[in-house]
């Protein structure tokens, strides 16, 4: 592989690229030898280029915006990069479907980047996250603040030179607890209180949390002669049953009408990505379970797919079918759960949720039987799944897919869809026009409920989804009721895929076809790594962004490998987090009680929001 990257970094002469005709001097290089083609953008030409891409090339969807710190890069390919940070944009087109356009902007430490929010409002939370974790300033961002950590947090945790309070070692496996023996708690080495540092000129004693978030901080201006009303700031949460976890909605209300709302998250923040960069590639698999803990199967699959793309690992036929079956069961149970909790938020406390969860139990039984756990399945591996299905599993799954689940979905439909209260509360509430949804980078059922036929399974098929016959249901209303009903329709499509997959799945578990072993590296026990004794994977250098249609929206993994046993960069594009971009705009103008349902219909899981 050439040192193209280093050569490019030195001077910035525009290279030959078709985009340079439209925006002269924008593209200053490319990583052609990479797993995925990446374009380097001149920092001052970023905004014109993005505008051109959005307006003329139909790249209307900013899927992921993240950053990499190249301080300690161990590989050869990018070793000579002079700027420390690399801000990465992944753009997609909802009209043309297909793959991504990857843009890289290199930023020296302390420099600023132009904020993309004026073109893609969906960059809002993602840029805040990059600012929070990497300390990169985005000029022109409307509300740049720490979203995941708090204001008194010292440093930017995703930087490679940042070490946490109970720091042990840079990469796993650690040596510190082995082989000397004896046990010592990390916190005893450095007791709490002595390890806390604060940013310079910041005093914990005098600090009070200001309500400084625009636009909640701005009281509406009343003209003389208006009726003099006071607007109030109300905190929903962090401990409030409607917020589905530890999450806060900072709302400014006038009477009962919401005039501004800002989501406030990070209460469960554990720096998943930093943990991921310390872990070996394989160790991240059980950690992905803990993102969206309702759908650990989908998360496993998304991560496995990303690594497989990076390392060029093939997956055998039967494993592909097993993966689809697991993911679609997961989608069914997520949507049932989602419907149940939208209804909970509407005030139909527990009955619909209870009925939905009963069906979910049956699916979880199936998950438990093959993987050993109901929620934290940890079932997929690079190159397959960890174990084959158990005898009789397919028959039970067929019973669910062919009989029980369709019946249960019909039952939920009968119970809820015609209900006058559900309709009264749902029609026209939380509406956002489809183009706004796309601009806000919202994904998943919410897009489809607004009439946008966009589904990664069709737009950029992964796995074996191109073999199944299924529709992408769409509804045109884009309100709460549509978001409820689209989940029911999608669950039905998921069941349809299940029926086909369970019909076509090759190899009986008894016949013992080499069905689930990896096709490229046959080490037995079903996976590339699961071979007894072999536990370290070292993918070749490169970067990859892979996204799947998770039940909650577009779940993406952005990985950079420097050829070592640990990922150099591990980023999760989590649908729950980015879908919250829309919470404020959706809620404004509606009543306080509606905000609860609007949040419920986004269907967030805090494990994934806060990461």
């Amino acid at each position: 592989m050439s040192d193209e990257a280093t050569m490019v970094a030195e001077e910035a002469p525009a290279v030959e690229h078709s985009l340079n005709d439209a925006v002269p001097g924008a593209i200053i290089g490319e990583w052609a030898e990479e797993t995925e083609k990446a374009l380097f953008v001149a920092p001052d030409k970023l905004l014109p280029l993005l505008r051109h891409l959005k307006e003329n090339e139909a790249y209307d969807y900013l899927s992921s915006l993240t950053c990499t710190d190249y301080l300690s890069y161990g590989g050869k390919k990018r070793g000579g990069i002079s700027e420390r940070f690399d801000v990465v944009y992944h753009l997609f087109s909802t009209a043309n479907k297909g793959g991504s356009l990857n843009l890289h902007v290199r930023v020296p430490e302390g420099d600023t980047v132009d904020s993309a929010t004026s073109i893609y409002p969906g960059a809002n939370l993602q840029e805040s996250e990059v600012y929070d974790l990497y300390g990169i300033h985005f000029a022109g961002h409307p509300n740049l603040r720490r979203v995941l950590t708090w204001d008194g947090f010292h440093g930017h945790p995703m930087r490679k030179d940042w070490k946490e309070a109970y720091f042990e070692e840079d990469a796993k496996p650690f040596r510190s607890r082995h082989p000397k023996g004896g046990y010592q708690w990390q916190e005893d080495k450095l007791p709490w209180g002595k390890n806390a540092t604060y940013p310079p000129e910041w005093d914990p004693e005098t600090w009070e949390k200001p309500i400084s978030y625009v636009p909640v901080s701005q009281a509406p201006h009343h003209k003389p002669g208006d009726i003099d009303t006071d607007s109030l700031v109300i905190n929903f949460g962090p401990h409030h049953p409607s917020t589905h976890g530890v999450f806060r909605m900072l709302t400014r209300v006038e009477g009962e009408t919401i005039i501004a709302l800002e989501p406030e998250m990070g209460y469960l923040h554990r720096n998943h990505e930093k943990i991921g960069e310390r872990n070996t590639w394989l160790m991240n698999m059980p950690f992905t379970d803990r993102l969206d803990y309702i759908n650990s199967m989908s998360n496993n699959w998304a991560y496995a797919l990303a690594v497989e793309k990076l390392a060029g690992i093939e997956v055998p036929e039967r494993a592909e079918y097993i993966r689809v079956i697991m993911a679609e069961f997961s989608r069914t149970l997520n949507h049932m759960w989602g419907i149940g909790f939208i209804l909970n938020d509407l005030g139909a406390l527990q009955t619909p949720a209870q009925y939905a969860i009963e069906e979910r139990e049956m699916i979880l039984d199936l998950f438990e039987e093959v993987s050993g756990a109901r929620l934290m399945c940890n079932y997929m591996r690079f190159g397959g799944v960890v174990r084959d299905l158990t005898p009789g599993w397919v028959e039970r799954a067929r019973y669910l897919a062919n009989e029980r689940l369709p019946r249960a979905l019909d039952m939920l439909d009968r119970l809820l869809s015609d209900n006058e209260i559900v309709r009264g509360r749902g029609y026209g509430v939380g509406y956002l026009p489809p183009e706004d949804l796309i601009a806000l980078s919202i994904s998943g059922p919410m897009l489809r409920a607004a009439g946008i036929k966009y589904d990664v399974r069709k737009a950029e098929p992964y796995g074996i989804y191109d073999r199944f016959e299924f529709d992408i249901p769409t509804l045109s209303d884009g309100d709460i009721y549509a978001r409820y009903y689209i989940r029911l329709l999608e669950a039905r499509e998921a069941v349809r895929i299940l029926q086909q997959a369970l019909r076509d799945i090759p190899g009986g578990e008894v016949q013992g076809a080499p069905a689930y072993a990896s096709a490229t590296l046959d080490q037995g026990f079903g996976t590339i790594m699961g071979g007894k004794g072999g536990y370290t994977l070292r993918p070749p250098e490169g970067e990859v962004y892979h996204r799947v249609e998770a039940p909650k929206g577009e779940l993406g993994f952005y990985l950079v490998s420097d050829g070592k046993a640990n990922p150099f960069r591990y980023h999760v594009r989590s649908p729950s987090f980015i879908n919250l971009n829309g919470l404020g705009p959706m809620s404004v103008g509606y009543k306080v009680a509606d905000a609860v349902v609007i949040l419920g219909a986004i269907d967030i899981v805090l494990g994934e929001v806060d990461r």
Binding site: T351, D365, T390, Y399, L415, N419, G530, Y535
Partner: protein, 275 residues
């Protein structure tokens, strides 16, 4: 008609209530079908996929039958046949563990030379994330996942740091929890053992042949040992073998007794707790 949707929905709930309570009123409700009765109202429930109505299981009196692959906290396997730990202290489990909660101290022989046996083996189960990588990657089938999930204690330290004694279970226990996997592993092991045996025999045969050939060459000029010498050597070897055998048998017996005693104690404790 306004209100028809509500009525339709109420119909669904009424059906659900009826399904639950009519079934519940029967002498043996359908949710107890195929369940194992432990007496005293305690049951192990085998929930079937076509169960209708309410699915509640009255824990802790009633419990679900856990599937074989259920995984919670790792356990170490004690090979009762060979009377030794299967663990060789290779440390793969500790290396592959995502939260790094395993640490092992390797044992050493009298001369201080490290040997393939753990002196201490700890798992911090407050950190363990039940991923089962240790069990998956162990080359010796020495660490497996336990099904016991009721581990609540009052203090984190030292109660949640499991040492080797707490982690070790006899292989029979593992065979009961994981029958299918155990069978598979045993088959593989037997095959391998037979293969090894065959190879060893082959090797011995070849060596013997070679030796015989060499001997035939040399026999002419090499003085033979006297018959008394040979007899003495044979006797010494037999005595050594016998000593070794009886030693092993005693230790095995002692270990089995110990395990039995422990099990009885535990059972007694459980009975006391129940009363």
């Amino acid at each position: 008609m306004f209100g028809s949707g509500l009525l339709k929905g109420l119909g669904v709930t009424i059906k659900h209530i009826a399904e639950t309570y009519i079934d519940d009123g029967k002498d043996s409700p359908s949710r107890y079908e195929n369940s194992i009765d432990l007496g005293n109202g305690r049951k192990i429930i085998r929930q079937s996929m076509d169960q209708e109505g309410l699915l509640t299981i009255q824990y802790p009196e009633e419990r679900r039958l856990l599937p074989e692959r259920f995984r919670y906290i790792p356990m170490l396997i004690w090979d009762t046949e060979k009377n030794e730990d299967r663990c060789t202290a290779c440390g793969i489990c500790a290396k592959v563990c995502p939260p790094q909660c395993i640490w092992i101290v390797r044992d050493s022989d009298d001369a201080g030379k490290p040997i393939t046996r753990p002196a201490e083996f700890y798992i911090d189960i407050s950190v363990c994330m039940s991923c089962s990588f240790c069990a998956e990657f162990c080359p010796f089938d020495a660490i497996k996942m336990n099904h016991d999930f009721e581990l609540a204690v009052y203090d984190r330290y030292p109660n949640l740091i499991y040492d080797k004694a707490e982690l070790t279970v006899p292989v029979e226990y593992y065979a009961t929890l994981w029958p299918v996997q155990y069978e598979q592993e045993e088959t593989v092991r037997h095959q391998k053992e037979e293969e090894d045996k065959r190879k060893a025999e082959e090797k011995a045969r070849k060596a013997a042949e070679k030796k015989a050939a060499a001997e035939a060459d040399k026999s002419a000029d090499k003085p033979k040992r006297s018959s008394e010498e040979i007899q003495a050597l044979k006797e010494r070897a037999a005595a050594a073998a016998k000593a070794k055998q009886s030693d092993g048998a005693d230790a095995k017996k002692a270990r089995l007794e110990e395990l039995k005693r422990k099990a009885a104690e535990r059972a007694k404790q459980r009975r006391e707790n129940d009363e």
